[in-house]
Symmetry: C2
Subunit: 302 residues, 2 copies
């Protein structure tokens, strides 16, 4: 009987659970609403217990979740969602109850680090040493993989919260980040588009000036990540990036901001293949969770 | 006879060569002026050949150099200084002539990545997985070590060139970066201090408003690097940081910019130990080159 990996993508409104070994071998998938921690985690346990009954033991479970989270294995709150703004979920142990109920190795990371790892394993970043994955939606989150492992350190990247130049003359909108006001997320997330222009991005024409301004901020972020991390590719996903006119605008503005300083063909002439959408689309998160399970399984058997 | 490592720190005005195995075991050190590539590299070869005659064969040579440089081992110009603004040094092969003359494994990286590695090996970043080293002087450069290896990717980080909010009202100075105008380097390097205030930083009183503005820009950079890389420590070196009043100003402004979002004691209450000067001081560069030699020697014998 083959061993399966479990993947759990935990978002603020729904969770996606999957069982399998990769994008073409999923044997089960389920979507669950995110309610209270106790109810939600019990439903996750029930899903995977049922899968184990049907398909045999899990090799490992990977969890990619909204955050912030505690990734420090020496910390008493390792595996917790920490100071989140999601009601009821602050200081909630996620890894503990699932490890106790399922008895398998658990990989745990942010939703964006998981999605980045999924793109590295099966998507648009295969074979790369270092790349950045940015998701632009209700929030802006960024993950990075360096030498095949999600980037951690003091905590985990929170790339959406960098400061970029705010074009006050063209854009008096103050930003909506409740921590930082006009950080990248506060200026360029989906709600900023809607509040600034009076209707959501999905209702703005493709030639609306909203998109050039949006691209200006996103490109400032991307250029800063290029200067900071030297990624071999930048993947831009999330709901806002489903507006196809954004990619060429962002690419052109990134080139302008780099100013010829990074003398590499990837950014000078091949930027269409350098700043790209996720190959796994909306599945990057749950598939990334499977990839986290792979890493956890390999670490446990090493 | 013990094996020694060679270290070469190549700057735009001088080079520092050293022989030894670490900060307490240097058996020789020399400073050479940076003149033409042919003359300079010949002097470096002569130094190390003389050392080999006196002390026996080198185990490896490490080179930390001004850049930009080509770090891609599959590239035909691997080991070159590429599009530098330093006259005569553009597209110059550094690794090739030294490898041919000395016949030893060569480690090659940017000056700031080397300095970061030196701090990781013997200085203020020992035992850390991920940290950032920023040098603030004539230019602003940043290096990072992730899991014990200097961070590379498409190229190498160029952290000094990120954009940060330019406080035009308080600061009409346009910035001096010849590529980007008011990027972090253009706003906060040593020459910006001198041009903005009419005299060099070393002649400005410690309570001059120059320092609060300088700290504002540096902190914007540091906060962005924290959000992007989640470093476990940030080391700030270089001539400008020798102004001791800068550290408390930068730390306070970084805390303000993080806005309580990164809920870790390191930045909330222990920031004096989180944003620190280099422990190796001005020796970080050449000692980092020795650490690069160690890595190259280990890789060659693996």
């Amino acid at each position: 009987m083959p061993l399966y990996y479990g993947g759990l993508e935990a978002g603020g409104t729904k969770l996606v659970c999957a069982l399998g070994t990769g994008p073409d071998t999923l044997v089960a998938e389920a979507r669950l609403p995110t309610t209270t921690p106790a109810e939600t985690l019990a439903a996750v346990v029930a899903f995977f217990k049922a899968q184990q009954a049907a398909h045999g033991p899990l090799a490992a479970l990977g969890i990619g979740t909204f955050g912030p989270i505690d990734l420090d294995r020496t910390s008493p709150t390792y595996g917790y969602i920490t100071a989140t703004t999601k009601a009821g979920w602050s200081q909630v142990d996620v890894v503990g109850p699932l490890a106790a109920a399922l008895g398998v190795p658990i990989g745990f990371d942010t939703d964006v680090n998981a999605a980045a790892l999924g793109e590295w394993r099966w998507g648009a970043a295969q074979g790369l040493d270092t790349f950045v994955y940015l998701t632009v939606g209700t929030g802006i989150g960024g993950g990075a993989v360096v030498n095949g492992r999600p980037l951690h350190g003091l905590l985990h990247p929170e790339m959406g919260h960098i400061r970029v130049p705010h074009d006050w003359q063209a854009d008096p909108y103050a930003g909506n980040c409740r921590f930082h006001g006009d950080c990248l997320e506060g200026l360029a997330n989906g709600p900023a588009l809607a509040e600034r222009w009076g209707r959501p991005g999905s209702q703005l024409p493709r030639d609306h000036p909203a998109w050039a301004l949006e691209a200006q901020y996103l490109a400032a972020g991307v250029a800063n990540f290029i200067f900071s991390l030297s990624p071999q590719r930048v993947i831009l996903g999330g709901g806002v990036m489903e507006q196809p006119q954004l990619f060429p605008l962002v690419r052109a503005e990134v080139q302008r901001l780099l100013g010829g300083y990074v003398q590499m063909p990837a950014v000078l002439t091949e930027i269409d293949r350098y700043i790209v959408p996720p190959a796994l689309g909306g599945r990057a998160g749950v598939l990334g969770a499977l990839a986290l399970a792979e890493l956890a399984g390999a670490a446990a058997s090493a």
